[in-house]
Structure formats: structure tokens, C-alpha cells
Symmetry: C2
């Protein structure tokens, strides 16, 4: 037994107790007659006292100990004269009688402090030191808690956690697979799963009724910021359910997590159709912590084929005349923006990531008047009509974009988030969770001139839309849903196809030959012939969920050993070359 207590637990009631603690030296202060050392372990920090008058030799020894030295100390708990209310152990200190150095330490390449002086690259290389920083450890402790509470809830709902295989079969549909050459079956490869999708469906065919797994998944993608080649999902599937049953069950899960991890009671989740999400927020994962909906002025792409929502002298304005789509948002209280500020916003929307050609402003001034950056095309009456259409009040600033619909919706979505951020409406400690439903089943891929599954090829169309599959595939809605929290897609799923014929039709629509469908998914379609129950499910991005709960934007600090944007583990230096002998055994060759 190395220690009697941890560095986080000693309180005033331990005074006079003899204790043995182990930990790392956080910092050391030599005050002449006294030396103080802060000893740190996972559980906290305890102050150690060495007194020249009491034991000069020990005190001298203490002064030789450097940062991050591993110590075992014995001493007596004493009340501090000078208490520190900010520290859980701030009422006490240890009068040390013996110190053993369990291990020494070089000076770490960066400070093990909340605000470290280490850059990203250095902290990735010495990840084991970065993980010592209390904030990074707290992220991993949060992750542990989220996983534990996820299991508590799902176990209580009769879900079975079942491990599905990691060495599976490559399927070209979807993202790129990582592959694993087989030595025992040369020329053949396993693939690492992008998700356990087919296996969880097979577990439903197996009559397992309710399945979940917190599981690693893999995608060999060119890594955008904050993507990892290996990531973790909470993967779930249920039988004999309709969409409503799944929404209820997993609304229950996130409410349980908010309550038990964050101590927050969130209200029931609202629901929004995909169509409304696009119309009012310009994207399918709206952040509804704040209102600021998109208001359309013109939408040539509407149901009626042409819709001029607002008519005025602006018809003379060529930009409006030509636009497929004109819409904007109303920024509350921003009428006072200066010319410099509006110019800067214009530059912001013109950046290639946003892609607008310009930004039109209408100021609903606090005196009730309206002025605009396009004054020459509109008289004040006309501007006021626009203000009424936007439901602005004096003091508001209306921001309008015009152009190609899809592009402008995306731009308005980004602009809305940016203005929300600037107005402080996106508070990371506030949470707003909701469902987006009624996604389209298919989306057209213009590169390869064929329909792609928006979710995946196993998603069920809505029964009432099935007839459209062969006539107007783009109009078919799916029984698919996403859970969105604070503008982040946290989870998504669907009711699946459980019928061989419909699955075959779906593969046809997606342009699979029946041979290709059979080769890749034959086992699933065969399984459907043996009494597959109706089923559906959902998968949550676990890394993202943890980051959200931790109030962070990036997932990297919620993963113990993340990879960098080139897919490289900087700490262990992987991937790396392997022995020729290994390659020979696998019968594979690389071209130098």
C-alpha cells in the first residue's frame, strides 16, 4: 500500500491524523525558514510543509525536488493558519516527516497548468503530459460519465449491449473504408466499419429487439478540421417501432444525460421538418437558441413555381429582378451599426466560404424611419413595407442576400450564426435540443449523375411517398430524423427497410446492378427473407456529444489520444513503415 489517502480528500476533521500521500510535485516555494510543496494527484492538490527549524535536513531535501517529481510523503495533517477556500483541501496542510522520491522528472516541455505555454503540436507529441492538466483530465472524466449514464439509461430500457465485429467487409457506398489485408486469405481484405449499420439490422432480424453499443467507427476521409479517422458512436436499434417510438426513447436518453451529467432539466424536444429548417434557418441543423429566422422576399423555387413575396419599386433593381431567391434576417438592435461595421459584414459574406456577391442593409432607425444601402431603388414607404414584412422594430438592422437559392440559404445560415455569435446569443452554457424530421430520401449527385441516399441505402421512404420512388425520387420523404443541439447534429437515424423487395427497389434507384447489390448486401437481403421485423434506430456522435456537454467546439480534447489533421498520432509516431517481412507474409507490395 503506497498511500493512506489521495491528495483530494483531507479535510479539517483529519487534523492530527498521520497520513501517507503520493503524487507529483506541482510547485515548490522556498520561503527561507519554510518550504511549501503542492502535491498533485488525479483527485486534487494538498499542501506539504517543510520547516527548517523542525528538520533542516528534510527541508533541504525538499528544496532539491523539481516539478513533476513523483513523491511519497508521510506526515501529520495540520490546520492551516491561512486557509484557502478555493481548494477542497484548503483547510489543511501536511507537516511532512519523510519524503521518498519514487521517480524523478525532467523539466516538462510545457507547464502543467490550466493556461499552459505549450502549443498544439507540442501538446500532441507529449499527450501524456497534456492529459495531466486538470482541464483536459476533466474532459475525459466527463466522457466517462456520459458513457456511464448512457449505459444506465439504455440498460434500464431493456437494451442489450452487443459487440459487433471490427474486421468486416468493404462496401464502396458511403465514405472510404480503411482496409486490412488478410494473411490467411491472400489477396483479400477486411474493412473497418464506418458504422455497425448492417450488423445492428441483422441483430433485429435475430429478434434481439433492442440493441446498443458505444463503438469505435472508422472513415478514411481527407480530414477536415475536427474530424478524426477513428471516432465513437452510441449506436442503437429497436424492433417493432415507428418513428414516434424512437423519437420518444432517445429524447428520454438526452434528457437523462442533461439531468444526470449536467444537472439541467431540458424541456421536451420540439420538432421541425427538414423543409422548415431549410426555409427558416437555411440549413438542416438550425441553432434555435435564438430566433432570427430567415424571411423570404422572393422564392422562384417555391411550390407554385414562382413566388414574389414582396412587390415594390425594387423591381427596377436589377439584382432583385434577376435573383432566383431574395431573403434576409433581422438583427435586433443593430441599426446603430456604423458604415465601418456594415462594410466589414459585407466583406465577411463575400469571403469564398460564404460566397455572397453583396449584402443589402435596411436600417429600421430608432426614430421610426427606414434607410437602406439601396436607397435609390426604394422610397421610404417601400422600405417600411419591407420592415413590416420582416417584423422589425425601431433599432433593428435588416440584412438581405439575393442570388441562387441553395447558395444564399447556406450564406444566410452562416450570416445568422455569425450575427447570433456577435450578439451573444450562442451561450455555450445554454442548451436547446430539437428534432429535425421528414428528410428527403435521396439527393441528386450531379458528378456521377445518379441519386444518392441522403442518409444511407437502408432508410425507409414514407409509406405515402413510395409511389414517387420511380416517378419523382427527389420528392420522396424518408422516415429519417436528426437530433440537433445548439446547431450541431448530435444524432441521426431512420426507420429501416425490412422488406427484401423494397430494399431491391432502393438499390435500383441508387443505380446498383442487381449483381452488385447481391455481392455487397446479399447477406442482408437474404436475412430479410426470414422474418425481419419492422425496425429502426439512431446513432449519436459520442465525441461531439461530449464536446458539447463540455462547452467546447472541438472534439479533440475529449479524446484521450487523438490524431492530427494528417491522421497521424504525433505521440507514438503512427502510421509508420513496417518490416518487409510483414509485407511479404501478407503478399502485398508498396510502390516506392
Amino acid at each position: 500500500m503506497f498511500r493512506s489517502h489521495t491528495c483530494g480528500e483531507l479535510k479539517i476533521n483529519h487534523v492530527n491524523t498521520q497520513v501517507t500521500l503520493c503524487g507529483l510535485l506541482q510547485r515548490s516555494r522556498n520561503l527561507g525558514g519554510m518550504t511549501f510543496i503542492d502535491l498533485r494527484d488525479r483527485y486534487g492538490i494538498t499542501q506539504l510543509v517543510f520547516n527548517m527549524d523542525v528538520n533542516a535536513q528534510l527541508c533541504e531535501q525538499a528544496r532539491t525536488l523539481g516539478r513533476e517529481f513523483v513523491l511519497k510523503v508521510t506526515g501529520t495533517v495540520a490546520e492551516r493558519s491561512n486557509k484557502n477556500a478555493k481548494m477542497p483541501t484548503g483547510d489543511i496542510e501536511i507537516n511532512v516527516t519523510a519524503v521518498e522520491v519514487l521517480n524523478e522528472s525532467l523539466t516538462p516541455p510545457f507547464t502543467i497548468e490550466e493556461n499552459t505555454d505549450g502549443g498544439d503540436e507540442l501538446r500532441m507529441k507529449y499527450r501524456y503530459l497534456d492529459l495531466r492538466r486538470p482541464s483536459v483530465r476533466a474532459n475525459l472524466e466527463l466522457r466517462h460519465k456520459v458513457a456511464a449514464e448512457t449505459r444506465t439509461y439504455l440498460n434500464s430500457q431493456n437494451f442489450l449491449e452487443v459487440e459487433t465485429p471490427v474486421l468486416i467487409k468493404s462496401t464502396p457506398e458511403g465514405a472510404r473504408d480503411f482496409v486490412v489485408p488478410s494473411r490467411m486469405n491472400q489477396g483479400q481484405f477486411y474493412a473497418l466499419p464506418q458504422s455497425p449499420q448492417t450488423f445492428k439490422q441483422l441483430l433485429m432480424v435475430a429478434n434481439f429487439d433492442k440493441y446498443y453499443q458505444i463503438v469505435k467507427c472508422f472513415r478514411d476521409e481527407d480530414l477536415r478540421a475536427d474530424r478524426q479517422p477513428e471516432f465513437t458512436q452510441i449506436d442503437c436499434e429497436m424492433s417493432f417501432v415507428e418513428q414516434e417510438d424512437i423519437l420518444k426513447m432517445f429524447e428520454g436518453l438526452v434528457r437523462h444525460l442533461f439531468k444526470n451529467v449536467k444537472g439541467i432539466e431540458i424541456p421536451e424536444l420540439s420538432r421541425m421538418t427538414y423543409a422548415d429548417a431549410m426555409k427558416f434557418y437555411g440549413n438542416d441543423k438550425p441553432d434555435i437558441r435564438f430566433e432570427m429566422k430567415i424571411t423570404e422576399l422572393k422564392n422562384m423555387d417555391s411550390e407554385s413555381g414562382e413566388e414574389q413575396l414582396w412587390k415594390g419599386a425594387g423591381d427596377a433593381f436589377k439584382v432583385f429582378e434577376d435573383a432566383q431567391y431574395i431573403a434576409g434576417i433581422c438583427a435586433r438592435g443593430c441599426a446603430s451599426y456604423t458604415r465601418k461595421q456594415t462594410d466589414e459584414l459585407t466583406d465577411w459574406v463575400k469571403r469564398p466560404q460564404i460566397g455572397a456577391t453583396g449584402l443589402i442593409f435596411i436600417k429600421h432607425n430608432s426614430d421610426g424611419t427606414a434607410t437602406s444601402s439601396i436607397n435609390k431603388f426604394f422610397n421610404e414607404d417601400e422600405l417600411k413595407k419591407i420592415c413590416t414584412h420582416f417584423k422589425s422594430v425601431p433599432g433593428d438592422l435588416i440584412l438581405i442576400l439575393a442570388g441562387e437559392k441553395n447558395k444564399m440559404q447556406k450564406a444566410l445560415s452562416e450570416l445568422r450564426l455569425e450575427i447570433g455569435e456577435r450578439l451573444g446569443l450562442r451561450d455555450r452554457s445554454k442548451f436547446s435540443a430539437h428534432w429535425v424530421i421528414d428528410f428527403p430520401l435521396l439527393e441528386w449527385n450531379d458528378d456521377v449523375k445518379r441519386w444518392h441516399a441522403m442518409h444511407h441505402p437502408f432508410t425507409s421512404p414514407k409509406i405515402e411517398d413510395i409511389d414517387l420512388l420511380k416517378t419523382n425520387p427527389g420528392q420522396v420523404r424518408a422516415n429519417a430524423y436528426d437530433m440537433v443541439i445548439n446547431g450541431v447534429e448530435i444524432g441521426g437515424g431512420s426507420i429501416r427497410i425490412h422488406n427484401k423487395e423494397l430494399q431491391q427497389t432502393m438499390f435500383e434507384v441508387l443505380g446498383f446492378t442487381s449483381e452488385k447489390a447481391q455481392e455487397q448486401f446479399g447477406f442482408l437481403m437474404n436475412a430479410f427473407q426470414y422474418g425481419a421485423p419492422p425496425h429502426g434506430g439512431i446513432a449519436f456522435g459520442f465525441d461531439r456529444l461530449c464536446a458539447l456537454f463540455g462547452g467546447a467546439d472541438t472534439i479533440r480534447d475529449f479524446i484521450a489520444f487523438p490524431k492530427n489533421n494528417s491522421g497521424r498520432d504525433m505521440m507514438i509516431d503512427a502510421p509508420s513503415a513496417i518490416d518487409d517481412e510483414q509485407l511479404k507474409e501478407l503478399n502485398i507490395y508498396t510502390r516506392k
Copy 2:
């Protein structure tokens, strides 16, 4: 909502309730006026009744439904006239008023029954049907329970579950790695972990104090019976601990599991040294559900260099004269074995898997006399002396092997287990758990003429044996331990080296050049320079543990989707060929 209840929950108090159930048709009996259907879901079976007199059309419809059809039925719960006490729902049945066929089924290729008519290969191919069998599902439910209780215990002990990466770096030490070609870093490879060993040690360097993970591991081995290329470990590590702390903590874990999964209170675990395990049981994972220890007659390999434990006229017996090692076991009550039985046992030990050249019998007859298969070399007095040495009683049969020590120990171990099995001493519902400790640190590998780490290269030698490392490596004992239950190694671990210099010495002893050591484990040795705490851990074979709790010998039925002995998933047909395009992107080639 598809159903109001499951097929496992309706009782007598539900009588007259209108219910809707969903499930698969287990069997159907047409009794003329009545038709009975057993409807099965994950939770149980409920009897459905269709009556020609009440609704002829519905009854006719019911008669068209085949095995494994997926049904949704509505009806009223009624008390059975003819109750079935063996079924949880045996008090009631459902008078059905409506049936909807949710999906049809082809006739399954084997029966979905406890004793199925399907062979191994067929059941692997249609694994989703095999998983429908209640006994197979029960295995996976047990697995879920063992995992859940493992987490409950470790969470209560302040362990943090931390996910370590799956895409890591290949290390030639140990078994063969599966590798994953990197597309973004061409010519380089990731490896799949054989265990998270180095990462859990780095988590200790990171001051995480207590870590665990239930984690998939991978080994590209030629598969012996009951090995899987991917398998699951309960992986644990602790800081500031001595061996004793770890033994106590994980003794706590298995006792918790036995109590909460099996409802069995097992006693505290006894401990046995590796030396005693080899001497008395001939292997390092003895089954101590029964005694039947090995008794040595001669051991030339003992400490004293030569030991003749028993001397008699048998010296004239050339086999004994030449043998390095003579030892045997005493089979209680087997003196009545016939010539046929002893001949069969002799053939058994001569099989190549056992490898003995013969088997010597001494019968301690029930009349007190002793007779032997080698009567001509021993008089009765001498035989009786042997009986005394073996502590046999009248009615016992002594079985003796002679030859090369290691080989004969292995053979005696097998013989002991075989006799134990024949005598019914290896009851699968009885459990005996114990620790084997004080393993040797190193073992000599005669093929490559160098020392290998018996556990792994991070295992700490016993402090008192460190000086022997350079003089007599074979004598160095490790702070290593295995947990053995019913003769199966369920878990193993060690106190680790936490000091850079000792780790370097260890790599030297193992024949690593310092360049090779730096290249492969540099990150770990570097980490040790920054204040690594003393630490140690253990890993349990989770699949094996589940099989043991399930009273089975093979792990395969405790894995949802296992691979066969060629590492092939028969259901999805993996591994398989992949597109040339994929290989090209990876810049790897296979030789046809």
C-alpha cells in the same frame, strides 16, 4: 406503437385485458376446431388461440401462416384451462381478434429450437437465425450482464473508462499484428492493437490513477481451435500500487461478478506460486476443483541438481534409470479399471498431442495388495512403498510417466484433467478461482537463441531478483500474476517497469538494439523520464470469462458474430476482394 406488451410478460392478472403483441411464429398446431400458435419475441412465448366457431375466416388465415412469420396480433387475455407451469406465461393465452402479417419468412434452413438440426457451418452462415435460438441469445444476454457488472464494480472503485486508439503502430514483439495501409501517408501502416498495453501505461504517466476499458484487441495468428482474430479484454491499470493492491482489487471484481451475475458467493482466492503450479499440476493454470496432485519419484532438474525421491529395485528398470523425471498421479477408486480400460488410457497418453511413450500402472487393490504393469521390476514391498509415497488408499490406481521433464509435466497435466473429467470432478456449475504468482520474468527461446519476455517487456522483475538479470536471467522472478478459474487463465497482469533505465536494461536482455528499442518504444521510455508513477495492471479475457460463466468450453457462442477457424466471417463473406481503385489509392499491390 406496434405492441402493448411483450410476449414474456402476460400473467393471470392480465385476464380480460385487450393486448397487441408482436413476434415470430414459433409453431402452429391445427386441432380442427381450434388452431394454436406460439408467438415468440426476445422476452418469451405467448400462446395464441384461434377458434373456428368464433371466427372461421381468421382461423383459416392463421392456418396459412408459416414458421418465423412476423405477426402483429390483437386479442384478449384469457385464463388457460390447461396451464403450463414451465412457461412464465403458461397461465394465460390470447383469444385473437386480428392478425397482421408484418413480414413473411422462407422456411429457415434449420430449426429455431434449443436442439437445432443445423450444423456448425450452416449456423455460422445464417448467424442471424442461430441468434434467435433462446440459448444463444441467453449467452449474449449473459455477456451484456457481465460487462454491465464489471463497469458497476470498477466505476464504484473510481476507475475511469478511457478509450485508447485502434489505429496504432506495429511492434514486432509478441504476436503478429493486423496492419492497415495509410492512404494519407503512403508506404506507411497503422497496426491494430494486440492490447492497449502502452496506452494504459501512458495513462498512468498522465496521472489518471485508475483506468479500465472493455476493449477489442486483434491478433493475426494461425487460429487454433477457439481463438478469434478479434477478441475482447477487460483492460485495467492502477498507479501507486504494489502487487498486493492489484490482487485485492481484482479479487474483488471476480467476487462481485460471481455474486451479481451467477448468484454465487465464492471464497477468497488462494494463491499458488508458478513453481508449485508446475510441480504439483504440471502447468501454470491448474484446475483446483479437485486435488489429484502430481507426485514426483525422480527429478534430476531439482534445485540440488539431482534428486532421486524414491529408490528401489526399480533401478534395474531401464526406463526409470534413464529418465530425467518420473512422476505420477493417484486416481481415486480406479483400481478396478480393466485391462481394456488401462490399455485405452495408455493409447490416450501415447497420442501425439500428449506425447508420452508409455504409462505405468500400480493398482492399490481394495484387499490392500499392490500390483503393477511393471511387476517384473518391483516386488510387492517396493510397490507398497510407492503407494505410501503417493498416499494412495486401497482402491486407488497410480498412473506414472517417465521421461523428459517439461514434456512429462505437460502430459501429466493433461492426464490429470482427463482422469478428473472421467471421475466427474470437473463440474461446470462449480467454480474454483485462485491466483498463480511469482512467474519467471523470461523464458529462453531456442529457435532464435534469445530470452523472451514471458508476460511482456514492460513487466517488472522482483526487486530482490534484479541483480540476476545480467548473470542468470532465467532465475529472475517477475511481479506477475494470473487469475485462474477452473483451469482456465482468465486474467493476467504484472507490476510494470516505471523507470527508463530498468526498461532499457530489459530491452537489452531481450536482445533489442538501443536503436530498435528507441524506434519502437521511444515514446514510452521518453514518457518515463517525466515523472512516471509506480503502476501495474491486469487484463481479463472477456470472451473466455463469459464462456466460463455460461458453463461452456468454447467462446464462439458468446460472440455475436464470430469468425471461423480461417478467420472468415461466413455470414458476410469477409475478407473479400476489394476494388483495384481502392488499392491504387492506397498505393499497394497484391501479387496474383
